[in-house]
């Protein structure tokens, strides 16, 4: 905008933005607050943000034959320990890491050489391959989940890690992005590599990869955020086998069996699942915003 807005306008804008911010934050506030409070406080909506933290008796612990004294703990301890005890949350988190990391690594191994070839090598069929990439950009993987599910079911791969990873191994967007990036790398750099006797393969990993680190980092954030948070695809291919649950599936299952008394542990689970990305985002905001809005770089 031009000029300086009056103090009145400035204050009015802040007022609107603060109301917006409160609405945006509300669920995060509720999530964190409930993860700290006792079941009674949640049900009666008392105790403010963190609750009174009055010691409470853990009934699950009593049922296991412990004395009531041994089973007395504060609500926050109760909620967070129950989150890990009632479901194998650690396993879910580990699965989440395994799946997101494998997806990203395979995407890079497949996309980088292809992007390099499309950007810098002359070969018969290059235009055809690039056209194919542009066509495939039209197909969201979620949209073709059903035929993919049928294919995986036919080869007996549902309920495996492979099923969680395979559909995402090809990132046409990654190919497109890296190709655009490689186009800007000067040919001299590649020719110098060839002069030094490097194979094309070595050029991809030892010359092109280092120049592409910023773009690759942005793509990594894009990919990891999408797959850590993805719920639809795991829901389709993982049926019942808890050992393969990703964090969102674990949270959903928790909810399925939750009555009011489990709200605290469930909100603790939600907090644990959401926290890693939020913390990473708060620490490296610019990189994250770049990465998530990558698709705007076309």
């Amino acid at each position: 905008m031009i000029g300086r807005s009056s103090p009145f306008f400035e204050a009015a804008k802040h007022a609107v933005l603060v109301i917006g911010a409160l609405i945006v934050i509300l669920p995060f506030y509720v999530m964190l607050s409930y993860s700290l409070k006792s079941p009674q406080e949640i049900e009666t909506n008392t105790g403010g943000f963190i609750g009174a933290q009055a010691p409470m008796v853990n009934e699950y612990c009593v049922k296991l034959g412990n004395t009531r004294e041994d089973c007395t703990e504060t609500p926050v301890v109760f909620n967070y320990t129950q989150a890990f005890k009632q479901a194998p949350l650690l396993r879910y988190l580990l699965n989440g890491v395994i799946v997101t990391v494998s997806i990203f690594l395979i995407q890079v191994v497949v996309a980088l050489p292809c992007a390099y070839a499309l950007a810098k090598l002359k070969f018969w069929g290059r235009d055809a391959v690039f056209t194919m990439v542009l066509f495939c950009l039209l197909i969201p993987v979620h949209a073709i989940a059903l035929p993919l599910y049928i294919m995986l079911a036919k080869v007996g791969l549902t309920n495996t890690y492979a099923a969680l990873v395979i559909p995402w191994t090809i990132s046409v967007f990654g190919i497109f992005l890296m190709r655009q990036f490689f186009m800007t790398v000067p040919d001299d750099l590649i020719d110098a590599g060839r002069m030094d006797g490097m194979s094309e393969f070595a050029i991809v990993w030892r010359v092109m990869l280092p120049t592409a680190i910023p773009a690759l980092l942005a793509f990594a954030i894009f990919s990891v955020v999408a797959h850590w948070n993805d719920y639809f695809w795991p829901r389709v291919v993982i049926t019942g086998n808890r050992d393969l649950f990703t964090p969102p599936l674990g949270l959903r299952e928790f909810r399925g069996g939750a009555d009011g008394s489990d709200w605290g542990p469930m909100m603790a689970t939600a907090t644990i699942i959401v926290t890693p990305l939020i913390v990473a985002f708060l620490m490296a905001q610019r990189r994250f915003i770049e990465g998530i809005t990558l698709s705007g770089m076309k």
Binding site: M1, I2, S5, H14, V16, L17, G20, A21, V24, L26, P27, F28, V30, M31, I42, V110, A111, C114, A117, L121, F123, G125, V129, C136, L138, P140, V141, H142, A143, A145, L146, P147, I150, I170, V172, R194, M195, G197, E200, N229, Y231, F232, R235, V236, P248, L251, R252, M266, M267, A270, V274, L277, I278, F281, L282, Q285, I289, I292, T293, G296
Partner: protein, 340 residues
């Protein structure tokens, strides 16, 4: 390029070099490089589209030995049966509410934040938080917040009934209306809505969560777009008589943001078509199919009930929507949406 071959070190494997030109070698290497990607594109993206198209004309189900060709019956059903009409209604309602709202809010927030003297970063950070958090987790929290009896929203509304001035303000009696006849008055007397459990409210509640989640993403893209608007254009517009803020917006900001808008609208639309997490976790398509969106229909019909032919037909219609949208976007981008 023979000098390149000559400059190779002595131990370089020259087996191919003897037979081939360097260009020939480069071409072969290139084929190795693109082969994995091409194979995966064919297998994971293109084959499924073909499979879905073929199966959509059949009554196939997993595990059954054979299947019948039933022509366009699945498609006919989709446009005649009330279940699928509700599906299309729910999906289009969601898209037509979430896209404009999250684009307008995204643009509004971006312009306000951009014109602030201080505090820009804090708003930007907060508004972007929902984009980072798993939608499933935040959806479940929204469900608790909107819980009919112990949720924060209805509790707060009910508490508001007790506060005299707030009741007057929200029930509209200060405008001369009958307080008991207003929405707020009704809520105070008979309880506030069930939100997700009421078929008149459920789809709007799902839309609200969708907007809540999406607009921060659009805001960030618009903020990037705004930084690329040259300030001289505003001066020029002012010289030409554009005095009001609205005139400057209409003549400069909006046209200059054209490319951003095309992109934002396309990506928000494609994402809105794919809404699933909130519906699956909170309403399962109900009450009475009022939130029965397409992705959920595919999941329920084809994967849960094994009606694969029908699911494939929905998939094809879905893909058609998404592809047309993307092609329109590309067309607009190529025609330079600036200055149009």
């Amino acid at each position: 390029m023979p000098d390149v071959a000559a400059s190779l070190p002595a131990d370089f494997p020259t087996r191919h070099a003897v037979v081939d030109t360097p260009q020939g070698r480069q071409a072969r290497t290139a084929l190795y490089f693109v082969a994995p990607a091409v194979l995966l594109m064919l297998l994971i993206l293109i084959t499924p589209v073909i499979i879905a198209s073929v199966l959509s004309f059949s009554s196939y189900s997993l595990g059954s030995p054979g299947f019948e060709w039933i022509g366009a019956e699945n498609y006919e059903r989709m446009f005649t049966r009330s279940t699928y009409q509700k599906m299309l209604t729910a999906t289009l309602t969601y898209v037509l509410v979430v896209v404009p709202m999250s684009v307008i809010l995204g643009l509004g927030a971006a312009m306000m934040i951009n014109s602030l003297r201080r505090g820009r970063d804090i708003y930007k950070t907060i508004y972007f938080l929902p984009v980072m958090a798993a939608l499933l987790a935040t959806a479940i929290v929204w469900e608790f917040t909107l819980h009919p009896t112990i949720g924060l929203v209805n509790k707060t509304l009910a508490d508001g009934c007790e506060v005299g001035w707030l009741y007057v303000l929200l029930s509209g009696s200060w405008l001369g209306g009958d307080p008991a006849a207003s929405w707020f008055g009704h809520g105070c007397a008979d309880g506030f809505p069930l939100w997700l459990g009421n078929r008149n409210y459920a789809i709007w509640t799902i839309c609200f969560i969708g907007i809540w989640q999406a607009f921060g993403f659009n805001m960030v893209l618009y903020l990037a777009g705004l930084t690329s608007v040259p300030r001289e254009l505003y001066h020029a517009a002012e010289m030409d008589g554009a005095k009001s803020a609205w005139e400057r917006f209409r003549l400069v900001t909006w046209p200059m943001l054209g490319p951003t808008t095309v992109f934002v609208v396309t990506i928000t639309t494609i994402r809105s078509f794919q809404v699933f997490d909130t519906v699956e976790a909170l309403t399962q398509g109900g009450p009475s199919k009022s939130t029965y969106v397409m992705m959920y229909a595919i999941f329920e019909k084809a994967i849960r009930q094994n009606l694969i032919g029908m699911g494939a037909a929905i998939t094809v219609v879905f893909l058609f929507f998404v592809m047309v949208l993307t092609l329109v976007q590309r067309h607009l981008v190529e025609r330079r949406v600036h200055y149009s």
